[in-house]
């Protein structure tokens, strides 16, 4: 890393330099796995970025221990994210894409959780360790990065009516609509 620790900490989630640096590292790393494919044409994400987010989302939402719950894949969270990013400021979308590459990188995997593999090539247990490492990182930027992925995955997943019953929420009441 060529960015000083002080400079590093001063940058926000989408501060640019560190994530751009991370992007370079990501390119140097071993290729990732694209096991999950988009359901339609992507507006903002590349198929690789789609696969990275989808892999993270699969671990962030209820996992294998909850068979009755829909998977991230079933709710098409990657596609939902792509549509959301298309509506955000282009710079915000660009920075989130950079974050995905840093998170995927084998180099940051090694330094954050001791696994020198792209996130998409990690086992579920290794993936959870990487998420935990970012979640509790001393470096603020990594914690911000974790929160960005966590909140987006949870917002997209838990706003689906398909999970209402699972959380004991009967959903909105039926409201009689009078004349406008």
């Amino acid at each position: 890393m060529t960015v000083s620790r002080r400079g590093f900490l001063k940058k926000g989630l989408v501060g640019g330099a560190i994530l751009a640096g991370g992007g370079v590292l990501a390119l140097m790393a071993a290729p990732g796995k694209r096991t999950r494919s988009p359901h339609g044409k992507l507006a903002v994400l590349s198929p690789y970025e789609y696969a990275i987010f989808s892999a993270a989302a699969a671990r962030l939402v209820p996992g294998d221990g909850a068979a009755a719950w829909p998977s991230a894949e079933a709710l098409q969270l990657g596609d939902e994210l792509d549509a959301l990013l298309a509506r955000l400021h282009p710079a915000a979308a660009r920075d989130f894409k950079r974050l995905l590459h840093v998170f995927e990188s084998a180099v940051t995997g090694l330094t954050s959780s001791g696994t020198p593999l792209p996130f998409t090539r990690c086992s579920p247990a290794q993936q959870d360790r990487r998420l935990e490492a970012w979640r509790h990182a001393r470096v603020e930027l990594l914690r911000s990065g974790y929160q960005a992925m966590k909140r987006l995955a949870h917002a997209l997943y838990y706003s689906s009516p398909k999970i209402y019953e699972r959380v004991g929420y009967p959903g909105p009441p039926v409201v009689p609509q009078g004349p406008a």
Partner: protein, 514 residues
């Protein structure tokens, strides 16, 4: 009384004109912009409002979080501080924050007004000057004394816990008429029971000849020889790579009411920066600390009036930062974002949602030496919000977590679960000691803000403020700020009613010149 024919709401995307002209251009259609428009239009001025959001009505309000946050909130529900440590809920639609707020209505506390006079050099603005404007707005928005029937199970826990501990809870006055207590104020009221700006002052303004252009984002204020000349807007058109330019020229003046993040950013983008360097500084958020408790019986905090009880027992903590307590509704998406952890651990918390009670502590920032946050405007139009958590705020947050836990236990909670990244489980007073030892800081504990204030503060001293005690810009004599940006500190209460009343006072004085 206006002699103009009635105006209407027009979609700027469909507007054939590239420029329009009026007496007063108003940026933003929320609490401040709407009432200012109504007052000026009623005085006979030709008024035009620009609103960056869209126009949605009760038929659109489907009570689904997936639609509501995307359609009605800033950044499609994704606004946050730069480091993501504080999620910022802020409206972006016709009616602004009034379309999505939780209806809680308070006058500006006397102690806050006294603080502004004593410490921020603000003279000529006191409770007496504001009183008639509060009264008028309260009448227009049907704000009446708090109603015990509004109290749902979520708020009842706050009421009972605070009563048991002798903390003097109060019923909240709400801006509603014929409320069915559905619980979806934050997603737009499908019954038109909530008396939003879109149902009150905007129709008043339109009836008096004002026009409102939607989907028009104010990009720059045009100035000419020390006067504001007009507002240049970006209008995003489908299938077009670049936004369309739409200009509202103002013969008399420009009023800014885009809210306490967008207004300072608009002034910064327009390079209307005065010598004080105060612009964009001292942004206050009432940083809000939620605490969730679980009960044996169902609480169903997703239903019922979202806020009906408040507790100001800890608002004045002497030389320490104070806070006040209210509740938050627990719809699945908002709760999932707030609850820490992921995967199955997070799922297990979500599965108890119907039994969850959410108390929130709103930190009263800016009343001590804490400097608040800062708004920056990037050259590419992106807005950045920095908000460092000062040691004084952290102390208040930790104290608030402990007192909220005491309250919830007093109300009969089976257990309290904190929103630290490593959640603490509190079942008795003895467990509270853990709270002092838990890491608290950016992205180590859930924080959000539904109240944005400051950034273009009122003051008599040009060296430390942006506008005067009537909202007029210190350098541009025909430019006013009429939204929450003007507050020199946070209010210590929910700000909607204060924004309306200040804007009404300012607009009434502007109208006298007309």
């Amino acid at each position: 009384m206006s002699i103009l024919s009635p105006g209407r709401i027009r979609d700027a995307r469909l507007e054939p004109n590239l420029a329009v002209e009026c007496d007063y251009a108003i940026v933003g259609s929320g609490a401040g912009g709407s009432v200012a428009a109504a007052v000026l239009a009623d005085a006979g001025a030709r008024v035009m409002l620009v609103e960056e959001g869209g126009h949605f009505t009760r038929r659109d309000f489907n009570m689904q979080e997936a639609w509501a946050y995307d359609a009605l909130y800033q950044d499609h529900g994704n606004r946050a501080t730069e480091d993501l440590s504080i999620v910022i809920l802020q409206g972006r639609t016709v009616g602004g924050g009034t379309t999505v707020n939780w209806t809680s209505s308070f006058r500006t506390p006397d102690r806050t007004l006294a603080l502004w006079a004593a410490r921020h050099g603000l003279s000529g603005l006191d409770a007496a000057a504001l009183a008639p404007h509060f009264a008028a707005v309260e009448a227009r928005l049907s704000i009446r004394e708090g109603d015990p029937d509004d109290v749902n199970a979520n708020n009842r826990k706050l009421l009972e816990g605070a009563r048991k501990l002798g903390w003097n809870p109060e019923l909240i006055r709400r801006s509603v008429k014929g409320c069915a207590r559905l619980g979806y104020c934050g997603m737009g009221c499908p019954l038109d029971a909530k008396q939003t700006a879109a149902l009150t002052y905007i129709p008043d303004a339109l009836a008096a000849g004002a026009h409102l252009f939607t989907n028009a984002r104010a990009k720059l204020i045009e100035t000419d020889r020390g006067r504001a000349k007009g507002v240049v807007c970006d209008v995003t058109v489908a299938n077009s790579p670049r936004p369309k330019r739409f200009v509202v020229y103002a013969r008399q003046g420009v009023l800014l009411a885009g809210g306490a993040i967008n207004t300072p950013a608009l002034l910064l983008r327009s390079k209307i920066v005065n010598a004080s360097q105060a612009l964009g500084q001292r942004t206050f958020l009432h940083p809000t600390v939620p605490l969730v408790s679980f009960y044996d019986e169902p609480i169903e905090a997703f239903y019922g009036a979202p806020q009906s009880v408040a507790c100001h027992h800890f608002a004045d903590r002497g030389d320490r930062v104070g806070y006040f307590l209210e509740t938050a509704p627990v719809h699945p998406m908002l709760s999932a974002v707030a609850f820490s952890g992921f995967g199955d651990a997070h799922r297990r918390t979500m599965e108890r949602l119907a039994h969850a009670q959410a108390t929130i502590a709103l930190l009263i920032d800016g009343h001590h030496d804490d400097p608040g946050g800062r708004v920056r405007a990037d050259p590419d139009d992106r807005i950045r919000i920095d908000y460092p958590l000062s040691p004084a705020l952290r102390e208040a947050a930790v104290d608030a977590i402990k007192n909220m836990a005491r309250l919830q236990l007093a109300a009969g909670a089976r257990e309290v679960v904190t929103l630290h990244e490593d959640p603490l489980v509190i079942r008795s007073e003895a467990d509270l000691a853990q709270v002092d030892g838990a890491a608290f800081g950016p992205n180590r504990h859930t924080l959000f803000s539904a109240h944005q204030m400051g950034g273009a503060a009122m003051g008599s001293d040009r060296a430390t403020s942006v506008v005067d005690a009537r909202g007029r810009h210190h350098e541009l004599e025909n430019l006013w700020v009429v939204d929450g940006s003007i507050f020199p500190t946070s209010l210590g209460v929910n700000p909607q009613l204060s924004i309306y009343a200040h804007a009404r006072l300012f607009a009434t004085e502007i109208a006298r010149r007309h």
